[in-house]
Structures are given as C-alpha cells and as structure tokens.
C-alpha cells in the first residue's frame, strides 16, 4: 500500500516535470489521425453495444473511461460496455452472439469459448490489412488464439494473460532455494519448506471446477512433458504414458500435501487469496497477480512479493497457456464500420500503452509485443511486462475446434476427480475421460 502510494507520488512528480511533453501527448491522443480514424465523423451519433463482462476489471474500467472521454469526442460514436457477471459470461456470450437479433455490436470472448461463435463473427483480415494493423506485434500464441485453426482473424487480441509464478522471496530464501525452474523443483521446494517446519503451505494450486481454471496449469505440464490433448488424427493423446506422467506430477502437489487439501475445490481467485493472505508461498496464475501481491494487507507478503516465469518440465519443454480475450465484431451488427473504428482505437498501441500506464486504474494487461517491451511501462510495473513477454514466446494455445467447448468440462472434471479422490487411479481416470472425449468427437464426425 505504502509502496504503491510512494510510486504514485514519484510518478506524479515525474509527470509534473514532463508537463510540456504531456501536453503534446494529450493533443496527440485527441487527434483522429493518430489512430487512423475518419476525422469527418461519418458515424456521429452511432451507439455501439459491447458484449463483455466484469466492469470491475481495471483494464476494462480504464478503457471504458478513456473511450467515453476521447474516442467519443473524436468520432461522435458512443460505446456502452456490458457488465455481465463472469460466472455466467460464457452462457450470456453464446446466447447473445448466436442470436440473429442481438443488439450487441462488439464482443469480447475467451479464446476457448470463441469457437462456438466463429460463424457469427465478422472476419477481420481485410480490416487488419486496410487499417495497417501490425499483426506481427502480437506473438504467435495470441495470433493463434485469435484465428483458431484457420487463417481467419475472428478478433483482435485485447486482454491476454501469460502464466507466471508468484512467490514469497523470503520463504524461498529461508530454505535456501531458487525460484523453481521446473515443476519437479516445486516438489523439492515443497519438501524443503515442510522439512523446515515453516507454517506456510508451499503452493496454492486450484483444482476446482469453477470456469475450468484447473486446466490451465495442466496444459503447461502436458506440453512441457511433450504431449498434447489430441494427436494428428484427433484421437485423445493426453492419456498416454507422457500424459500420465505429466498429470501425476500436476496432481502430486495436493496429493503430497504441498498444496492445501482445500485446493481441490479452489478456483484461481481462491488460490491466489492464499498467497495474498500469507498462507501460501507460491502460486502459478495470471500475471496481474503481481500487483495484488505487492499491495497485500499482510506486510511480509507485500515486502517479499516476487514473480518469475511459470516453470517448465525437467528435461523437457517450458510451455504454458497464453490465455487470450480477442475482441471481434458481430455479423449481426448494423454498425459494422463504426465498430471497426472503435477497434482501431481500442487496440491501438498508443491506447494499449496508456492503459497500462493508467494511474487511476492500475493494471498491467498488455498484449502487443511493442507495449510489453516498452521501457516506461516496464518501469511502472517493475519489469513484469518483460518477464511476461519471455513467457509468451513459449506460450501455446488450446485446440480451437467448436467441439472443444464440450470437451473442456470432461477434462476439468477428470482433473477435479483426481484431486478430490486421492485414491483415484490416474490412468483409469484419464482413460475414462479420453473415452468421453472420443464420444464427443465421434458424434461430431471426426472419425468418419
């Protein structure tokens, strides 16, 4: 808290000193030409509805506020952001986006969910080319997440999260260990912390079913060990020998007692609370946790907050899930051109950079490589963006086929089963899940 306030003060001072520069910038961002917007306001008075959740997310709040003040001023287009509850967002998103009469124009979606609505999204390839958007500024993982298995760009990357290890520097120091480079290191650190008799859980995992978050780190284990969900014939392969080893490692944290027993039911938020409240020493989750840890009410946590790339597989790869929310335009929209104008502004590097430098709504969510490597943004976020960009270089995305939305719950339930039932046989559970996955794929005609 104090740290954040000091930082704010410092930045305010810096801003004051650079006032002339700031003014120049302020003019820049109010100039339609900066963003390639049509200065003649052809869409003046158009109202756009943005299908999105979670107005409390700092990035969204920041973008919405700036859009109201600046984008609307430049174009005369007003944009209202939806505020659907995240818990039912997947459902609301589908039902609105597939609705032939929906009133929404723009839509933000989680990559894994997008496949169900691809047919309702306006392809953006031509737009990207015409608007001169630098597609290579998004890393391969985000590019893949925005296009699915095709070359069609269904949405522009807007919100993306690499997985980072967040940890307590003091705890690791006390047991004389470096931050884990591999998943196997985590087990070793867990044993060391327990051997030292420290009153803290080595790691807070999340094996609960909530929004399928228990799959994120499992993917990293699978990919690191060298296997994917499917083989090249769309046969499930996660239950082969490598998959078994990866899954057993992933589940070992709770089975060996390194992660609290209650983590079998936790979601990502509940697990990160353990870290923030000082009850756990490590947590692997979205990068924006870093600032939450630094501003923890528990002083040991705030003072010893540290982060590093998520671990990899010993003797294997380091790969993790690059989780992306692309923003697309619905085919049903009557205001396609106005919506595209908004996308230009919203995903423009200048806007994106300003969002991560926002002092009112502090957040670090950037998706463009140019912003992730921006020195000022990195200084503002203690180098977090740079580390994230290193993680993203090895990030991958999940099988983006429509059927995957039906397969996700099967996989999430299998992981949950292994966590909940400590006696469950990993191979048997994975085999059953594979059978269920085949069932879905077969019904969809993949094996015809």
């Amino acid at each position: 808290m104090i740290f954040a306030r000091k930082l704010t003060l410092l930045l305010a001072l810096a801003l004051f000193l650079s006032l002339p520069l700031g003014n120049a910038l302020a003019q820049d961002i109010m100039d339609p030409a900066t963003f390639g917007l049509d200065a003649s306001k052809p869409y003046d008075g158009t109202h756009l509805k943005f299908l999105i959740c979670c107005s409390t997310a700092a990035q969204f709040a920041s973008a919405a506020a700036k859009g109201d003040a600046e984008f609307t001023e430049m174009t005369g287009i007003t944009v209202s952001w939806g505020d659907l509850p995240f818990g039912s967002f997947q459902e609301q998103l589908y039902l609105e986006a597939t609705n032939p009469n929906t009133e929404f124009d723009i839509v933000a979606f989680v990559d894994a969910w997008g496949t169900n609505i691809y047919d309702f999204l306006h392809p953006l390839n031509d737009f990207v080319e015409e608007a001169g958007i630098d597609w290579d500024d998004y890393g391969p993982a985000y590019q893949g997440a925005a296009t699915g298995l095709s070359d069609t760009i269904y949405g522009l990357p807007f919100r993306g999260h690499p997985l980072l290890l967040h940890y307590r520097a003091d705890v690791l120091e006390a047991v004389g260990m470096d931050p884990p480079a591999t998943w196997q290191d985590i087990s070793a650190i867990g044993e060391a912390i327990e051997a030292a008799g420290m009153d803290i859980a080595p790691i807070a995992m999340y094996y609960g079913l909530n929004v399928d978050q228990n799959l994120f780190n499992w993917y990293s284990h699978l990919w690191g060990a060298g296997v994917d969900i499917f083989d090249e014939n769309w046969e499930p392969s996660f239950n082969n020998e490598i998959g078994l080893a990866a899954t057993e490692q992933y589940i070992s944290y709770v089975r060996d007692g390194h992660s609290p027993e209650a983590s079998v039911a936790w979601n990502e938020q509940e697990a990160n609370q353990e870290l923030i409240q000082g009850r756990a020493a490590m947590f692997i989750g979205w990068w924006w946790m870093a600032s939450r840890m630094r501003t923890s009410d528990v002083s040991e946590v705030a003072e010893n907050a540290a982060f590093a790339p998520a671990p990899g597989w010993e003797g294997g790869d380091t790969a993790s899930y690059g989780y992306l929310w692309p923003v697309g335009v619905l085919k049903q929209s009557d205001s396609l051109d106005a919506a595209l104008e908004y996308l230009k502004w919203l995903t423009h590097p200048i806007t994106e950079r300003r969002l991560v430098l926002d002092e009112e709504y502090v957040n670090n969510v950037a998706v463009r490589l140019s912003v992730l490597s921006d020195p000022e943004a990195n200084e503002f976020h203690d180098g977090l963006l740079g580390v994230a960009s290193a993680v993203l270089a090895n990030a991958r995305t999940i099988p983006l086929i429509p059927e995957y939305t039906e397969i996700i719950p099967i996989l999430a339930e299998a992981i949950n089963e292994l966590a909940v039932d400590s006696m469950a046989d990993t191979q048997a559970v994975l085999d059953l899940a594979a059978e269920d996955v085949r069932f879905v794929m077969e019904a969809a005609g993949y094996y015809d």
Partner: protein, 303 residues
C-alpha cells in the same frame, strides 16, 4: 423417603425432563430454521474484513448496501489505513426489474385466474374436472422444457421493434406458466368455501351471471384474491431459471446475486446485502399469507 412419596416425585420428574427435552427440541428447530437467515443478515452489515470470519463482534456498517446499489465507486473504511474504493454493483435497475416483472405478472395473472377459478367452482361444464386436474399437472413440467422453446422463439419474435428475449415482457409471459395454475387452484379454494346461497338469492332476484360475479361474489372473495396475489408475487420474485435464460440482460435480483463476484471470488458481504434485498420484503409477504402457503403449494391436496 418412603416408597409412596418416591413414586409421587418420579412422574413429576419425568414430566419435567420431558418438558425440558421438548424445549430443547424446539430451540434446536428454531436454530435450524433461523441460523442461515440470521447469519446472512449479520454478514450483510459486517465490514468487509470481517465477512470472511466467524466473528460476531464488529462495528455494523451499511457500506455493503451502498456498494450494491451505487453506480460508481464507493470509498469504504474512510480515514483508516484500510481505505479503498469498491466498484458499485448498480443493482437499482435489478430491483426495478424484479418489482416490475413480479408486479406485472400478478396484474395479468390474478384477474384471469379469478375468473377461471370462479367458473371452476360454480359451474358444471364439459370436462371441468379433467381440465382442473390437467391445470394442476402443468406444474410438473420441468421449467427447462418451458425455457428452451421460449428462448428460441423469443429470439425471433419482435414486439415494438426489438426481440422479446431479454425483455421484461418476455419474462412476464413465461412466468405465467408457473403462476396461473397455482393462482387458479388457490382462488378456487376460496370460492368453494363461500356459501352459494347469496348468489342463488341474487339470481332469483334477476341478476345475471356477470352481475353476480362482479357485484356479489368478487367482493366476498377479495381477501382470498389478495392472498393468491401475494403468493404469485413471491413465486415470480423468487424465480431464477426463466430470469436467467429468458430475462438475460434484463436481470432480476435473483440473477443479480451472481454479479457479486469480484477479485476475491464471491464478495460474500455484498452477496449477503443483496440477499437481504431479495429476502426481507418476502418475509413480510410470507408472514401475511402464512396460513395459506401450504394450501397454495399443495393446491389444496393436504387438508
């Protein structure tokens, strides 16, 4: 102590211990019923940092109510080192939706139900017994079966230029399917209990069917109609599945409960405050129709 006096004391002791046991059982029942309600009420007025504890000593606050209704950030713990802003949950429109949907549902359903109930009670007509039973069985249709076709229908059916899906009107229409049958059965019970002599006398005096209905019978069953209205209001107020699938963005309070999650998962103190808004008005209504709830739920099958 003689044997005689001992035997005189013994039944007294047994009676007393039985009474004590009964009192204990009653207190246990009260605790069983009231604990969740009281705990929710307590959580609703807890300061944020106490909500995640089982502490019962704290300084009560109305912050949580301010947060759920506000449409901008609310500063809590002002002046302390825990001062922070909480984003308002903007639930005023949700309350409005709940009130309008439940209110309109009974405004439409109750008059229709009253007329139908009166006919079922007072007239013999072809198939009236079977019809009445059939109306009862419509309550056993799972709500999801009603929701799926109406969902697809309301996506395409437009009224006033916009599809019915995600409108209060759409929700009101679907709510009819649960409210009308109950209301008919309930009001029919009240009409049945009304002696027919007055109506007969009026008929002899030359009143026609409708004059009897509107000027003689209706005023007499007014209390029953009121009870049925309250019952129907509670049913549509507490309805969740239709509100979720058909109401969509036009969220009622039941669905708005889902919006209380944030960075800490579900913000329990906010959920509790929203829960109070959902629950407290219904307490008063439920007390008002206390004696009729059983008849309503069972459609008079248990008497």
């Amino acid at each position: 102590m003689t044997a005689a006096s001992a035997s005189r004391i013994k039944p007294g002791f047994r009676q007393q211990s039985a009474k004590l046991l009964e009192t204990a059982a009653l207190l246990l029942i009260i605790a069983f019923i009231m604990l969740p309600i009281l705990w929710l009420a307590l959580t609703a007025i807890k300061p944020q940092e106490k909500a995640y504890t089982t502490d019962i000593i704290f300084t009560p606050t109305l912050d949580n109510f301010e947060i759920i209704f506000s449409d901008e950030s609310v500063i809590i713990n002002e002046g302390t080192d825990r001062e922070r802003g909480e984003v308002g949950r903007k639930m005023v429109p949700n309350v409005f939706n709940s009130v309008v949907v439940s209110g309109a549902t009974i405004l439409i359903a109750i008059p229709l139900a009253t007329l139908a109930a009166y006919a079922f009670s007072r007239y013999q007509f072809l198939g009236n017994g079977v019809l009445l039973i059939w109306i009862l069985t419509t309550q056993f249709i799972p709500a999801i079966v009603v929701a799926i076709p109406f969902f697809t229908l309301f996506r395409t059916v437009e009224i006033f230029g916009s599809p019915l899906l995600g409108t209060r009107l759409g929700l009101i229409i679907v709510n009819m399917s649960i409210v009308l049958p109950y209301a008919i059965w309930m009001i029919k019970g009240f009409v049945d209990a009304l002696p027919g002599e007055i109506e007969e006398a009026a008929y002899v005096d030359g009143c026609n069917d409708f004059q009897i209905l509107f000027f003689i019978s209706l005023p007499l069953i007014r209390p029953g109609v009121l009870v049925a209205s309250v019952f129907a209001f509670i049913m549509s107020w507490n309805e969740f599945l239709f509100a979720l699938i058909i109401g969509r963005e036009m969220r009622t309070m039941q669905v708005a409960l889902m919006t209380t999650s944030g960075a800490r998962g579900i913000m329990w103190e906010q959920m509790a405050a929203a829960g109070m808004v959902v629950m407290v008005p219904i307490f008063f209504l439920a007390m008002f129709i206390r004696k009729n709830v059983v008849d309503g739920l069972t459609m008079g099958a248990v008497k």
